[in-house]
């Protein structure tokens, strides 16, 4: 999808004014948080597993070249064709070429955020291929012609009534006369419709949660089983993923799986956890006859060894989104690209550049909840702050804000001036509050639209203290 991150303030305002969205967000928020908490309470050794998970990710990234080569070698040995893509354009080309060679007409997809990152659907449709999303959430937003608003729950911004009417419109031409409204009915309908898609597809595209260097396997977690049908029914299976997902061994992958599902949905393990290691072998009952993996870089190798390398540890669990009050207020679309919430606020500027995405690391209270719940120990608030430093060093951002901060810093570095000004400001501010004139102070309009300005006592502490000290000594 084309990034529109620079438009964040406007998109945020739209999200805040969207009552349906606000309702959906309020409903979703507590659920994820509670489920994760309960899952961790049942796992007393979580702190140790989390530390191990962080170590595995750090080690994998420190030796990424080695493990990627090993993964590619083992994967090829198992019959998987390995493709390297420097950027989105290369990945799109590779995948459309594979589809063309397979004489494909219909493509089914499992959920892949890397696919969203490079707009693979757009490329496939341009190549006259019919694309069907098979993850229920992705299917819903495909029908709505929208983009995911959450990395693990793409349609979390939609309520049941909206889904029901989307289905009614889309399924009418398939011969369904009646609308479905209950959750079970909606899921049943999706299952029926998607089943035909699974049976007719020529190519299946999925993402991968981990790549295992030791065995050349690709690991995929889902809760709907759509990943397995996508990978095994069509004759060609393409795994589209990015280079940082590699881990050394199967044991390492299972350690990460232990924290992934718990952090994401509060499940000890997802309903389906699949390991794909090459196409169908001679004595296999089923499976694709061709298997490909496309390994996307798209700016990631640039992050290695730098100040933000730890961001590549991310295993896309979404816990930081679920605990972020800014995400909880806006939902994912306000962020203007594939990756929302705290992980997106750091990753988007790194992949797209600060001129496009400088708003995101600023739109954060640095409350630290994201870093606390991150299962692989990414210091997200520190990185947001560091990005702000870069923004200032590059002279980006609002000139007015910079000028105000410069003035403030000057005053803060001159205590006598500071105390003189504070001594005058305290009574002035009190008068402004008391008279209601505070609402006419430029720049405070929106700040005070939703909250009163608590009036100061009327004298600065230092002035009172000086007086008191003088009284004591006299």
């Amino acid at each position: 999808m084309k990034p529109v991150v620079h438009d964040f303030p406007h998109r945020a305002a739209t999200a805040l004014a969207d009552e349906q969205l606000q309702g959906a967000l309020r409903q979703a928020r507590g659920g994820f948080v509670d489920k994760r908490r309960k899952a961790l309470e049942a796992l007393p050794e979580y702190p140790q597993i989390r530390a191990a998970a962080a170590d595995i990710r750090a080690h994998s990234l420190a030796h990424l070249d080695f493990y990627l080569e090993r993964f590619a070698e083992r994967a090829e040995a198992c019959g998987t064709r390995v493709h390297w893509a420097r950027d989105g354009a290369e990945a799109r080309q590779i995948i459309t070429d594979i589809c063309r060679e397979a004489d494909a007409r219909k493509v089914i997809k499992g959920k892949t955020m890397v696919g969203e990152e490079i707009d693979i659907n757009g490329a496939l449709e341009e190549a006259n291929l019919e694309v069907l999303e098979t993850d229920l959430g992705e299917y819903i937003i495909q029908l709505a012609k929208e983009t995911p608003s959450h990395i693990i729950a793409p349609a979390v911004h939609k309520n049941r009534a909206q889904i029901s009417s989307l289905f009614a419109r889309a399924h009418e031409k398939l011969g369904y006369k009646e609308a479905v409204t209950g959750i079970a009915e909606i899921v049943g309908r999706a299952r029926e419709v998607l089943r035909q898609g699974f049976l007719q597809a020529d190519v299946g595209i999925t993402g991968a949660n981990f790549l295992v260097a030791e065995t050349g396997s690709m690991v995929l977690v889902t809760n709907e089983g759509n990943g397995d049908l996508t990978s095994s029914l069509p004759d060609t299976h393409i795994v589209l993923t990015s280079i940082e997902k590699v881990v050394p061994t199967l044991d390492d992958a299972t350690t990460l799986l232990r924290v992934l599902a718990r952090s994401a949905t509060g499940q000890p393990i997802t309903s389906y956890t699949s390991f794909y290691t090459g196409p169908r072998r001679a004595d296999d009952a089923d499976g694709p006859s061709e298997m490909h993996v496309v390994l996307l870089d798209n700016g990631r190798s640039r992050m290695l060894g730098g100040d933000y390398a730890e961001m590549l540890r991310c295993i896309r669990c979404g816990a930081c989104l679920n605990h972020c009050p800014v995400y909880g207020s806006l939902g994912g679309h306000a962020y203007g690209w594939v990756y929302p919430g705290p992980m997106g606020a750091v990753l988007s500027p790194l992949l797209l550049g600060l001129p496009e995405a400088a708003h995101l690391p600023n739109a954060c209270t640095l409350n630290g909840h994201c870093a606390e719940v991150c299962p692989v120990g990414i210091p997200l608030p520190d990185m947001s702050r560091k990005l702000r430093q870069e923004e200032q060093a590059e002279g980006l951002g609002s000139r007015r804000d910079r000028a105000l901060l410069k003035v403030w810093s000057y005053v803060a570095r001159h205590p006598r001036l500071y105390h003189g000004l504070a001594g005058c400001a305290a009574p002035l501010l009190r008068w402004l509050c008391r008279s209601g004139m505070i609402h006419f102070v430029p720049g405070l309009g929106t700040l005070l639209a939703a909250r009163a300005c608590p009036a100061p006592e009327g004298h600065s502490f230092h002035r009172l203290w000086q007086k008191k000290s003088a009284e004591r000594t006299s």
Binding site: P325, S329, L330, L366, Q392, S409, R434, E457
Partner: protein, 253 residues
């Protein structure tokens, strides 16, 4: 008698001197000699959190000099204490001598309630405050300094006070320093969630150890027409709640 320098914080200086007087009373009651160095202004968070590193370093040097002869530096704020304690050392990574100085300084810096409990050995607060009180955890204190049980322990000793917990209590109130000025609407939405959760507790008073949160929360509560009184932790512990609670004057003018 340990010599404690009170780091007043810029918000307390400007908005709520009563918090600083309360902190002084509490520290003196705990047996400390309290001084208030005049050369202090602000801890530097506004510059630091907006990416102005050079200005932040200059302010940090000034703070460290101002408190050079204090055995401890105590602030009635989790975020300012975290700035002094955790972030100052990170500002000087390029100069070993300055970093060593910042490290030594950081070790002496404390948030008020954790200082009273962990250094002064105070087991519980004394005094009297009638009513149901909801305690709000400021994010910096909670996550950067592990200030969680200390304020609750101290409030537990106040007679007449019934402490209650807040739903989704570990979520940010939306203040975030300059965040609430840069993104006032998002901040307001977060403050609204927090205020509603606080109202739902049925508490008559909201208490926190962080004036930024309190100004934000009080402002939103007032707009919602709530009668909840808002005080800083130090004010309740020191028995200095005879002054008007933190609020706008829209209600009393």
């Amino acid at each position: 008698m340990p010599k404690v320098g009170l780091f007043v914080t810029c918000l307390v200086d400007l908005f709520r001197p009563n918090v600083a007087f309360s902190a002084i009373r509490l520290l003196e009651q705990a047996g400390c000699e309290v001084v208030v160095p005049e050369a202090q202004t602000c801890c530097g968070q506004p510059a630091y959190n907006n990416g102005h590193s050079r200005d932040t370093r200059a302010i940090a040097r000034q703070v460290m000099t101002a408190f050079a002869d204090c055995e401890y530096v105590v602030a009635p704020s989790g975020s300012c204490a975290a700035m002094l304690r955790l972030h100052y050392p990170r500002l000087f990574t390029m100069d070993a001598r300055e970093q060593a100085k910042a490290n030594a300084f950081a070790e002496r810096c404390w948030e008020l309630s954790s200082f009273l409990v962990e250094i002064c050995g105070l087991e519980a607060g004394s005094g009297h405050y009638v009513g149901k009180v909801a305690y709000h955890d400021g994010c910096s204190g909670l996550r950067e300094l592990q200030v969680r049980h200390q304020p609750r322990q101290l409030l537990g000793g106040i007679s007449g006070l019934k402490l209650c917990e807040v739903a989704d209590g570990e979520s940010c109130c939306g203040f975030g320093g300059t965040f609430c000025v840069k993104y006032p609407q998002i901040s307001a939405r977060m403050a609204d969630d927090k205020a509603k959760n606080l109202i739902a507790t049925g508490a008559e008073t909201v208490v926190a150890g962080e004036l930024g949160c309190l100004l934000n929360i009080a402002g939103r509560l007032e707009r919602l027409g709530s009668e909840i009184r808002v005080y800083h932790l130090a004010e309740v512990l020191a028995g200095r709640t005879d002054v008007a609670p933190i609020a706008g004057l829209e209600s009393d003018s």
